[in-house]
């Protein structure tokens, strides 16, 4: 989706993250700076250990950066704690896990309603949202089922519905197609693209899969904790397959990636 709004939604400034492994410091992020504009579908790619998941986890507040700033709509989220953190996680971001992270003792319906339950949203409002999102993602038929009774694709779409139901400012997706077969992965990416384009949701997705990345409008390539390349899709002129080819070319230059086609 072409973005015309230039006000920054997410600003990442000189982000550093170091770990100490048996006393030896290891730098996972080494000064990353970038912005995400409202309505963007941004991908973050990189080989294993490049720091892409660490970056996403910093933004999701799962881990705290060593230094640097993360601002969402101008507010520094690194300083959040307690209720602010709960509010941020519950209403500002939607997190799509690689392993779906559905609670297997709750039905699909209960899983999707969970973020609203946590914030005591009125049940009639919640039900209306649920009906809308379930219809949009084609999961109405699995709402009464438990996760163990669903296919992988259905689980991830239920997880996506859970992300969407609280109307988050930004959706963070960590390898969302990682546990899916090709068909389910493609269906999911198409849905994510629709969420981005038709429902105007900003998405920041970590993936190592170029095919999944080709659905994005912009891709940051990370290596050794720094951004070393940025790719932009020339929307609407560039077809997804052409963008995919360009991603492959860049990955070939740095020597990595996979040629899966969704």
């Amino acid at each position: 989706m072409n973005n015309t709004n230039t006000e920054k939604l997410l600003e990442v400034r000189d982000l550093h993250k170091s770990y100490k492994k048996e006393g030896v410091p290891t730098k996972a992020l080494n000064g990353i700076t970038f912005d995400v504009l409202p309505g963007e579908f941004m991908g973050i790619m990189g080989a294993s250990g490049s720091g892409k998941t660490t970056l996403l986890n910093c933004i999701a507040t799962i881990i705290k950066p060593t230094s640097g700033q993360i601002l969402l709509s101008g507010t520094n989220i690194s300083a959040f704690g307690g209720d602010e953190l709960a509010e941020y996680r519950g209403n500002k971001i939607g997190y799509l896990f690689q392993d779906f992270a559905l609670l297997d003792n709750l039905t699909g319906r209960e899983n999707i309603l969970l973020p609203l339950s946590i914030h005591n949203v009125d049940v009639s409002v919640a039900e209306a949202k649920l009906a809308d999102i379930a219809g949009f993602l084609g999961i109405t038929n699995v709402l009464a089922q438990f996760p163990s009774q669903m296919s992988g694709g259905e689980k991830q779409r239920v997880a996506a519905a859970r992300c969407l139901i609280s109307d988050p400012t930004i959706i963070l997706a960590d390898e969302p197609t990682g546990a899916l077969d090709t068909k389910a992965a493609r269906l999911l990416m198409e849905k994510l693209q629709e969420i981005n384009q038709k429902r105007s949701r900003t998405i920041l997705m970590v993936t190592h899969n170029p095919s999944a990345a080709s659905f994005c409008s912009r891709i940051l390539l990370i290596q050794d904790g720094i951004i070393f390349h940025e790719l932009r899709r020339r929307i609407p002129t560039e077809a997804r397959n052409d963008f995919y080819e360009r991603i492959l070319q860049v990955m070939a230059q740095i020597g990595g990636g996979s040629a899966n086609v969704l």
């Binding site: 507040t61 509010e87 519950g90 896990f97 003792n105 309603l113 339950s117 946590i118 438990f146």
Partner: protein, 718 residues
């Protein structure tokens, strides 16, 4: 290296899983308490009085209780170790993947188990010694400190047997669990079992299970209450089987009902973590309904056993008091020989308030007197019948052949029963004999005219049936008759005026002399009417007060006992009676209370460990909740609700079944309602202790669960 690793792991297990360690300490303390029973003050005392019975108790019953404890505590230790190994499953998988041999890992687990066991033994034995001492002092106080001199209850043999028993069950438990653990694939150890399929079942099925469970329980209750003696008591076994099946079905159905509640209460669907909490609870109970059912049954047994123990103690308190008992010894034998022996120099220091007590039945009338009796009770009966409540009829007018004496009866009905027992040939007591008894008791003596008598009721035998109430009612009737100068009984047609308000005291120290009631008459009337064939003389005496103060009652009686032994007379001491009664009370209440508390601890530990095992398996859900914006407080509240209901749900059927069981025991043991009523204070104390034990475990579980979720990597910089 091997020892260091084992030591470090054992230390970590103790600090991380306090419930596991405390459970082991509890198991050790339980062993010690039961094994050191022989050293407790009361049992020591009973050993001197009732040595055969106590020896039987210590040599047959206690080993049986020990083996029973061993059996139940084995399961407790298995659960504790199972939870511990589940928590460490990933770590054990890593050891294997790094190339550690299973044999070595098994040895390491055994070494860790040994270290933890030795520390649990130290803690448990210290706790056991302390608790044993508290129990010993408490029971000694209950029985009467003056009677029993306190001695430390530490027992070396109990320590040895505790160590052996505990190490044995710990080794067997680890052996069994270790074997099962190493049969798993390394992948399963590393990543846990494959997620269990959620099987909530349909709501209708759940409801049917619940109804079926309730129906089966109702049938079990019906059999217990109405038909337990059918087929020689075999129906009781049927009731027990139905009770167990009913409880399991009921608990399973209850879990399904929770599912229904979670999915159908729309208004609460988005009310905090309401749905999540219900689902967690439902999952916990559905997957572990057998354990929860077993915990419920153990709780029911706890309620029954602890109440029974409390009732045993309280119902016997009247037997253990000296309120009515005056004499310390009763001797029978050739009249002059006994008199001489008791007056001898060796016995003198031990004899005070000597009383040659004569008693006997009244002669039977030879002519046409009423039913062959000299006594006509008609007027007295009429007066007593007037005292009956309006809704109670005199059973004699209803065609009943005899009366029942019961604490639940009105006093007047019991009085009629007392009169009816010996109405033809009542027991007679000469007033001089009774006056000596009153003098010994420090009471005012009686003065009877030739046409006067007093009605005597033995409080030793009517205590539980409300001797006080009968005496009050009788005094009221007699006082009225005295005011109106009306005779209520007649002997050979001559009026005999009954004197009210006389003090009632136990006649002898020997409670085998079962005189429930008697007419105290003038010595002349006694000589005239006593049946020579039933005339009996009991020589009663007390230990002098000065001797009791210097030597103590127990020592003095034991010394007097030793002096009487070679005499060849038949004799009985207050302590013999007291000891016999006490023996039954103590052995019954000890066994009941011990088993009750052991079942309670096993039930609590079972629930606690099951909950934490499930918590361990599902803790990642809390990470997801946190990522969805749930606050720590919300999650803590949810966990606390889960723990509360996880403990309460099995308690509810346990309370109902326990109440039915108690009623059954009351009927079976003929324990009067008044006795149960008397036992209310101690029952309330026991209930508070049970609730406290449940609360301690529930709080420990909630705290451990809180700590588990705190460890999750959801917060920045953690």
């Amino acid at each position: 290296m091997f020892f260091n690793l084992a030591w470090r792991n054992a230390k970590r297990s103790r600090s991380e899983n306090l419930i596991y360690f405390l459970t082991l300490v509890t198991a050790v303390a339980s062993f010690y308490i039961v094994l050191s029973l022989g050293k407790q003050d009361v049992i020591r005392f009973l050993g001197e009085i009732e040595s055969d019975a106590v020896n039987r108790l210590l040599t047959t019953l206690m080993p049986a209780v020990y083996l029973c404890s061993l059996f139940f505590l084995f399961f407790l230790v298995v659960f504790a170790n199972k939870y511990q190994l589940e928590c460490r499953s990933r770590e054990l998988g890593l050891y294997l993947i790094f190339g550690m041999k299973k044999k070595r890992l098994f040895l390491q687990l055994m070494a860790e188990g040994l270290i933890t066991s030795l520390l649990a033994l130290c803690g448990g034995i210290i706790c056991g010694v302390f608790l044993s001492e508290v129990i010993s002092l408490t029971t000694a106080r209950l029985v009467g400190q003056a009677v029993i001199a306190h001695q430390p209850s530490f027992s070396l043999s109990a320590v040895v047997w505790t160590i052996l028993g505990f190490l044995l069950i710990q080794a067997v438990a680890l052996f069994v669990l270790g074997g099962r653990l190493f049969q798993r694939e390394i992948h399963q150890l590393l990543y846990g079992e494959m997620a269990k399929k959620q099987n909530a079942g349909n709501a209708r099925g759940g409801f049917l299970t619940l109804v079926l469970g309730a129906a089966v329980l109702a049938i079990a209750y019906w059999i217990v209450l109405k038909h337990f003696m059918v087929a020689g008591g075999a129906m009781l076994i049927v009731a027990v089987i139905l009770g167990i099946a009913g409880t399991l079905l009921f608990i399973r159905g209850l879990a399904r009902l929770l599912s229904l509640l979670a999915s159908s209460v729309k208004s609460k669907a988005t009310h905090g973590l309401y749905t999540f909490t219900l689902r967690q609870l439902q999952e916990n109970i559905v997957h572990k309904f057998v354990s929860v059912g077993v915990a419920s049954i153990l709780m029911m047994l706890t309620i029954m056993l602890i109440t029974d123990g409390a009732v045993s103690i309280m119902s016997s308190s009247s037997l253990l008091t000296r309120d009515a008992s005056v004499y310390d010894f009763t001797v029978t034998g050739e009249d002059q020989a006994v008199e001489q022996y008791l007056a001898s120099e060796q016995m003198k220091p031990y004899v005070a308030d000597i009383n040659r007590m004569e008693t006997g039945k009244m002669k039977r009338a030879a002519g046409d007197d009423i039913l062959g009796s000299f006594v006509d009770w008609t007027k007295l009966r009429e007066q007593i019948v007037r005292q009956l409540p309006p809704d109670v009829k005199d059973p004699a007018t209803q065609g009943a052949l005899n009366y029942d004496i019961s604490a639940s009866n009105p006093a007047a009905l019991n009085f009629l029963a007392v009169i009816d027992t010996d109405n033809i040939a009542p027991n007679l007591l000469p007033v001089s004999t009774y006056n000596r008894l009153l003098e010994a008791a420090g009471e005012k003596t009686l003065e009877l005219e030739a046409n006067e008598a007093a009605f005597y009721l033995n409080p030793d035998f009517l205590g539980s049936a409300g001797a006080d109430a009968i005496a009050i009612m009788m005094d009221h009737v007699l006082a009225d008759a005295q005011t109106e100068n009306k005779a209520l009984i007649f002997i050979e047609g001559r009026p005999l005026y009954l004197v009210p308000s006389i003090p009632m005291k136990g006649l002898t120290a020997d409670k085998n002399v079962r005189i429930f009631s008697a007419l105290i008459v003038s010595d002349e009337m006694f000589d005239q009417y006593v049946n020579p064939d039933t005339h009996t003389v009991y020589w009663n005496f007390c230990i002098p007060k000065e001797l009791v103060e210097t030597e103590g009652l127990m020592r003095s009686i034991m010394d007097a006992n030793n002096l009487l032994k070679p005499s060849g007379f038949v004799y009985e001491s207050y302590l013999n009676n007291f000891g016999r009664q006490l023996f039954y009370v103590v052995s019954a209440s000890y066994a009941s209370l011990y088993m009750g508390f052991m079942f309670l601890i096993i039930a609590c530990a079972l629930l606690a460990l099951q909950f934490l095992t499930q918590m361990q398996a599902t803790k990642k859900r809390y990470l997801t909740l946190s990522m969805l914006g749930a606050r720590r407080e919300q999650m803590r509240k949810s966990i606390h609700s889960q723990v509360l209901w996880y403990f309460l749900l099995p308690l509810l059927p346990a309370c109902v079944s326990g109440t039915v069981g108690l009623y059954f025991m009351q009927v079976l043991l003929h324990s009067p309602t008044a006795t149960i009523g008397q036992a209310y204070p101690s029952m309330i104390v026991m209930a508070v202790i049970v609730i406290l034990a449940l609360a301690v475990y529930a709080v420990a579980v909630a705290r451990t669960a809180d700590r588990e979720i705190s460890k999750l990597n959801w917060k920045p910089n953690s």
